[in-house]
Symmetry: C2
């Protein structure tokens, strides 16, 4: 794991925010943000300088927007700081918290804030849903967390063009609820964790169960309004669905985790709600059989809307969680399928998939019997992380991480990774977007138990190395954040990382935007 | 139009290469490549310095690879230079030709060449199919054209993972022929002009008729091997189909027209050949009726494999071209549909589309009656540019350009643009990828007729401005090249262009890679 040079070897609070004030006090006491200029670390403002910058931001925004938009947009409440710098479901939490949380109401306010931070070398960390898993919104060097909570609206809906302009803090589920309420017949198909919001979804290039049919976040962005590191506001493109005009800045900002700019508006493609939807479940004697069936579905080109794998442990977690009660699922390796399209095509696809799963020792092929059960079943899948979190005993944490491999290798990596966890006596479940070769491992462990934590870290490190050895990636959809910087370096090597960092330096010369994420400056080639 | 500062006001040869030696001689005589360092133009090597660099490349490659790989890889034959610096189907051809054409056999040779060129400030211009339309491979500042003709192989085929590793000079049609010959059941779906090759397809982020179903080039790239401006070789990723690990360098290099690096290898996704294919044609009384029908097809979510519009002029061109002889098509605005999938879904889609076109005053809904007619019909569409070229009389040229708009605006822009051309007495046809809001205008004109050329330029300029006013883009799939630099600036504005140029400067500080394309250095913010 990458080490924060300011690391204080102090355990973080594991549950609740009761320790917020103490923790925050501890951090403030240690603040030595002005780093030695002889290292290649960026030199950030001291806490005192950050306070000067905050006062300046307040002044500037009050001046231009009046009191309503000014004095109130910045909070230094300790609980607010903890909520924006620490995550109980993240694999890692570096020491450090933001010194303030800003709640801007407009692109102009974000621009003012970033411009002042640029001048004072104050880190700026974007925040929307707060559901990321790799310390993506942590504040290892202090600075200002920019929470887009008040920028959560639909700005413009272009129904005929099947696109929509939104602010960063609208959630994907809320967006779809609003589209349904308008009876638009359209929806936005990217489906990460339930509480994720568009801003963070852009930052992490997220995806979800629908990716096998609809792709990932980058495939649904038409243009972005971005506040650059010096406060300049740009728009990546106008509103064509397709373009070859110049560099593809959409795909550069998508997945850059706020390290190149803060997205304040996005135009997203929408697609047509399918006429018919169906969900089916099949069990298999082994993960390998399930993976073989899934590979055959892909190689036959059957257009499934989603295809998920869950191991026997994860099925047990679903039963224990009780979300589909009174229905109890077989605790065996299981494939979940979603089918979408016209009635005729859905029926045809189901028949073809049933044949393939049958050939691969699948049994108990069955459907959710109605729309309610469909929804429960799918939500059981979507809520899997929260189900795991709910199983924690006092003092326990969940380590949830993801990798992706070419899909012919998925059975291999799952088998070996499961065996390693079992051998170490860890309680761990596996589920995956098998059509994308992407899977998640969730491990329950006691953070205070140094040996157990070491075992988990070893398991995760080995799994990532295995994925890389199989020509895969250290993260299919969670992104790098603070937690997987070493893995990214292993994955792409210093020269490719050097290209990324050259781009970072070109667009953010003082490295104020979400510092400590994706890579550290000292690796600069 | 952007002006080459070295412009000599000399007419380019319009047909054939008979003038090659004269033209090349003229260029050499004027070569003043060392520009005034007080301007912000990059300072490139003089012709003499380029010759020194070429000798050095020859020496280095001979030393490492022996005579076979060395002495032969660089040509200075005048016809070769003309063929690599001038295009008879491009909208613009700047003055200037490369001083040499290199034919590397390996990534290592490309790396050596670029490293030496970097040291000597010699422009390097990648070349593969040579079918681009906006002067993309022209050599306004001399330098070395790198023709990948000898790097045209499949390196590795991962059938189970449905991906393939190829070199840049394999054509997409050749790739698909080889996949068919291997009975793989797989194909690569991006279908630009028939002779396009993977390298240039990556450079321009091309697409084609299949884009409405399969997306554009950027959606099919898993990783790239790229030689950077200083000769460093990087690989953007390993081989996962999905990743959130670090910046999306694939999508940055795709569409960057060789200005950020030379692609020497690409891993591409493949997809399953559909079980059933069908092609249908419907005529409409007006372009607006055809556009309305197409919009309804999109808004209903019918998964057509392609949906193309051709105006009455383009239909006449098809008839005149004789490719589908003896069949003669109605010379009316026409929609072409391609359907792909299972037998049942194709049949269902056809019925749904027939209903929609009927509602929108479509008539003569009919199918290509067999596979041969399907192929002819579709190739008539694909060959449309060449059909136009075949209609030229002595001294005539074809100006073929593209724009894209949100698809609700397509009928508006086509109607106005057609009227303007008709009013000016120009012979022009329109065809488009209507599902993407992308269309092409091809105009026949006499280059020597200064008035006529001015009319064409005005028409194109107005059409681009109209597209931008409708929130569109100056190019949906042809890319910017030399010809549309001013349009790109109008489209995105100086701040967004500044971001692109900051990235360019970070990765290619001497601007040696395909200089003069996409943007000019003097606009740097």
């Amino acid at each position: 794991m990458s080490q924060n040079p300011l690391r204080q070897q102090r355990l973080l609070p594991s549950h609740g925010w009761g320790l917020a004030a103490i923790y925050f006090g501890g951090w403030l006491g240690s603040a030595a943000m002005r780093l030695d200029s002889q290292t290649t670390m960026p030199r950030y403002a001291s806490v005192r300088e950050m306070e000067v910058a905050i006062a300046e931001i307040r002044r500037e925004i009050t001046k231009s927007d009046g009191v309503e938009g000014g004095e109130d947009i910045i909070s230094t409440d300790p609980e607010d700081l903890l909520a924006h710098g620490y995550s109980e479901w993240s694999t890692t939490n570096p020491d450090g918290l933001p010194v303030a949380v800003a709640y801007p109401r407009s692109t102009e306010q974000v621009s003012t804030l970033v411009r002042v931070c640029h001048a004072h070398r104050v880190p700026v960390i974007p925040y929307s849903g707060g559901t990321s898993l790799e310390g993506n919104f942590s504040a290892p060097y202090g600075g200002i967390s920019v929470d887009f909570a008040y920028m959560d609206r639909i700005i413009q809906f272009n129904k005929d063009d099947m696109d929509i302009v939104v602010q960063p803090s609208i959630g994907w589920q809320d967006l779809n609820d609003q589209l349904a309420a308008m009876d638009s017949g359209l929806f936005f198909p990217i489906d990460p964790g339930p509480s994720a919001k568009i801003g963070g979804m852009i930052g992490t290039n997220c995806s979800g169960t629908n990716a096998v049919k609809y792709g990932t976040m980058k495939d649904w962005v038409i243009n972005l309004t971005v506040v650059l590191a010096d406060g300049t506001v740009i728009k990546t493109r106008r509103r064509p669905r397709k373009s070859s005009a110049g560099y593809n800045l959409n795909s550069l900002f998508v997945g850059s985790e706020g390290t190149l700019g803060l997205v304040t508006e996005a135009t997203l493609k929408l697609t047509v709600v399918p006429e018919e939807l169906s969900v089916a479940v099949v069990t298999f004697p082994t993960i390998r059989d399930a993976a073989s069936a899934a590979a055959e579905v892909m190689q036959t080109g059957i257009p499934v809307a989603a295809m998920e794998i869950m191991d026997e442990v994860q099925m047990r977690v679903v039963n224990l969680g009780g979300a589909t009660s009174p229905r109890v699922w077989k605790e065996m390796p299981t494939l979940f399928f979603k089918f979408a399209g016209t009635k005729a095509s859905v029926s045809e696809n189901i028949q073809n998939v049933a044949k393939i799963t049958g050939r691969n020792r699948g049994s108990n092929f069955e459907f959710a019997k109605d729309a309610r059960e469909q929804k429960l079943l799918w939500s059981a899948r979507k809520e899997s992380l929260w189900s795991m979190l709910a199983l924690r005993k006092a003092g326990e944490e969940v380590w949830s991480t993801d990798v992706a491999v070419p899909f012919s290798r998925l059975a291999d990596i799952i088998e070996v990774s499961k065996k390693e966890m079992d051998d170490l006596g860890l309680f761990a479940s596996i589920l995956g977007h098998i059509g994308d070769g992407n899977f998640h491992e969730s491990i329950i462990y006691n953070r205070a138990d140094v040996d157990e934590r070491a075992k988990v870290e070893t398991c995760v490190k080995n799994m990532v190395q295995r994925a890389l050895d199989m020509e895969g990636t250290c993260t299919g959809e969670h992104s790098v954040g603070w937690g997987k910087k070493d893995s990214l370096l292993l994955e792409v090597g210093p020269a490719t990382l050097g290209v990324m960092k050259a781009i970072k330096t070109a667009l953010d010369p003082h490295w104020i935007l979400n510092p400590g994420k994706i890579f550290d400056r000292q690796y600069l080639a």
